[in-house]
């Protein structure tokens, strides 16, 4: 059991990193990776939401959709509805309870609804037949993988400020190329974990 959980983490952080090998969450990856501070905040917020979503998705799948046979067509709608509301709820609660916490990561929450990692995690959980604990860990791993990608990219981008990137490549282009190189490097982990 522990071994499986460990594999799930390693797989979603390194081997099948959500950004570099599953192509998920690229828009915020592109947008929020220019400063390390922001990257860390965004990463933490996403990890939090992902973990919560994983749990929520598990319950909806197992206690609403499956019993009534609604899974094939209501999955998407119900998941996204829950995610959107959850995110908004968390945002409001955090804002009220701790403005400091809100400033640290709450402000990233609205961005997360449109982060496709969240829905993808929700959809992958039924697909992979994970149980509750596995689902939670999967959500956590996805978040950590995303955070790692963000931090690496933000560090490189901060250094790039001092570089002399050709004008045409400035902005998203060089970020994509760098992401490509990072994805290439992450392929080194290919075959690390039997899946």
């Amino acid at each position: 059991m522990l071994k499986e959980l460990f594999f799930i983490i390693v797989s979603s952080v390194l081997v099948n990193n959500f950004v570099f090998s599953r192509f998920l969450g690229n828009c915020p990856f592109l947008g929020v990776s220019s400063k390390t501070e922001t990257a860390v905040g965004m990463g933490m917020a996403t990890t939090f939401v992902l973990t919560m979503t994983a749990v929520a998705a598990y319950f909806i799948q197992h206690y609403i959709l499956m019993p009534f046979g609604l899974a094939p067509f209501l999955q998407i709608v119900s998941f996204i509805l829950v995610i959107a509301s959850l995110v908004q709820l968390v945002e409001m609660v955090v804002l009220k309870i701790s403005p400091a916490l809100y400033n640290a990561f709450g402000i990233y929450l609205p961005l997360i609804t449109t982060n496709c990692i969240v829905l993808a995690v929700a959809l992958l959980i039924p697909l992979k037949n994970y149980n509750l604990i596995e689902s939670t860990i999967f959500g956590l791993g996805a978040g950590l993988g995303f955070t790692l990608a963000l931090i690496l990219m933000s560090g490189i981008r901060e250094d790039m400020e001092f570089g002399d990137v050709p004008d045409a490549l400035k902005g998203p282009a060089i970020v994509f190329i760098t992401a490509g190189l990072l994805a290439m490097i992450f392929l080194g982990f290919a075959g690390l974990v039997p899946l």
Binding site: C116, G171, L187
Partner: protein, 201 residues
């Protein structure tokens, strides 16, 4: 109206200019036909959602607008999902999870929030079609590059000769990012704006 349409095709092309909704643009673009199919699927969802959002824009209270828009988008996405499963099972297998993910494709919400919820129905449709097709041609272009180099084929037809060494990387994640980056760069070069004369305007 025409302007709204062309805007999505070129000026604010979601992939190359606004650089948004790129996950699917990277994930499914291993072969030309995937690009076209994904593009059409998105265009459908985008257009339907834009129509509905534009119609409902005055009814929906702003506090719950995001959940509402998302439900609308999710509904249309599921419809596409079901239809693809029913009628194009082979394609469906390739695109896997990325059809459902149209829901969170940033383009859709971007246009719903940013355009359809403010503009007239007609303009919204024009905009949605422009954006959708802009997305479609962009990802088809990416697909073509990756397919030719990675498999030596174009829409499934061998074009590179028998001895062609496949560039495996092109079909793998890094290839997607690299092609995307280079194409965005080329696009920047083509559309690089001449220095604007801001002296007297």
């Amino acid at each position: 109206m025409v302007k709204d349409f062309v805007n999505g095709l070129w000026g604010e092309n979601p992939i190359f200019r606004a650089v948004i909704g790129i996950c699917s643009a990277l994930a499914v673009t291993t072969a030309g036909q995937n690009g076209i199919a994904m593009g059409l699927a998105l265009t459908f969802v985008l257009t339907c959602s834009s129509i509905l959002v534009s119609i409902l824009k005055n009814i929906i209270p702003s506090k719950v607008r995001i959940p509402c828009y998302i439900i609308v988008i999710a509904t249309f996405t599921t419809i596409v999902d079901l239809f693809m499963k029913a009628y194009f099972p082979a394609l469906y297998q390739v695109m896997g999870i990325f059809i459902p993910l149209i829901v969170v494709n940033c383009i859709v919400l971007w246009r719903a929030e940013g355009f359809a919820s403010k503009m007239s129905l007609i303009r919204s449709i024009a905009d949605a079609l422009g954006m959708g097709l802009g997305y479609a041609w962009a990802i088809t272009l990416i697909s073509i590059v990756r397919e030719i180099l990675g498999s030596g084929t174009l829409f499934g037809i061998h074009i590179m000769g028998a001895n062609f060494t496949h560039w495996v990387i092109m079909l793998l994640p890094p290839g997607a990012f690299l092609v995307m980056g280079i194409l965005v760069g080329i696009m920047n070069m083509i559309t690089r704006k001449p220095v604007k004369n801001t002296h007297c305007h």
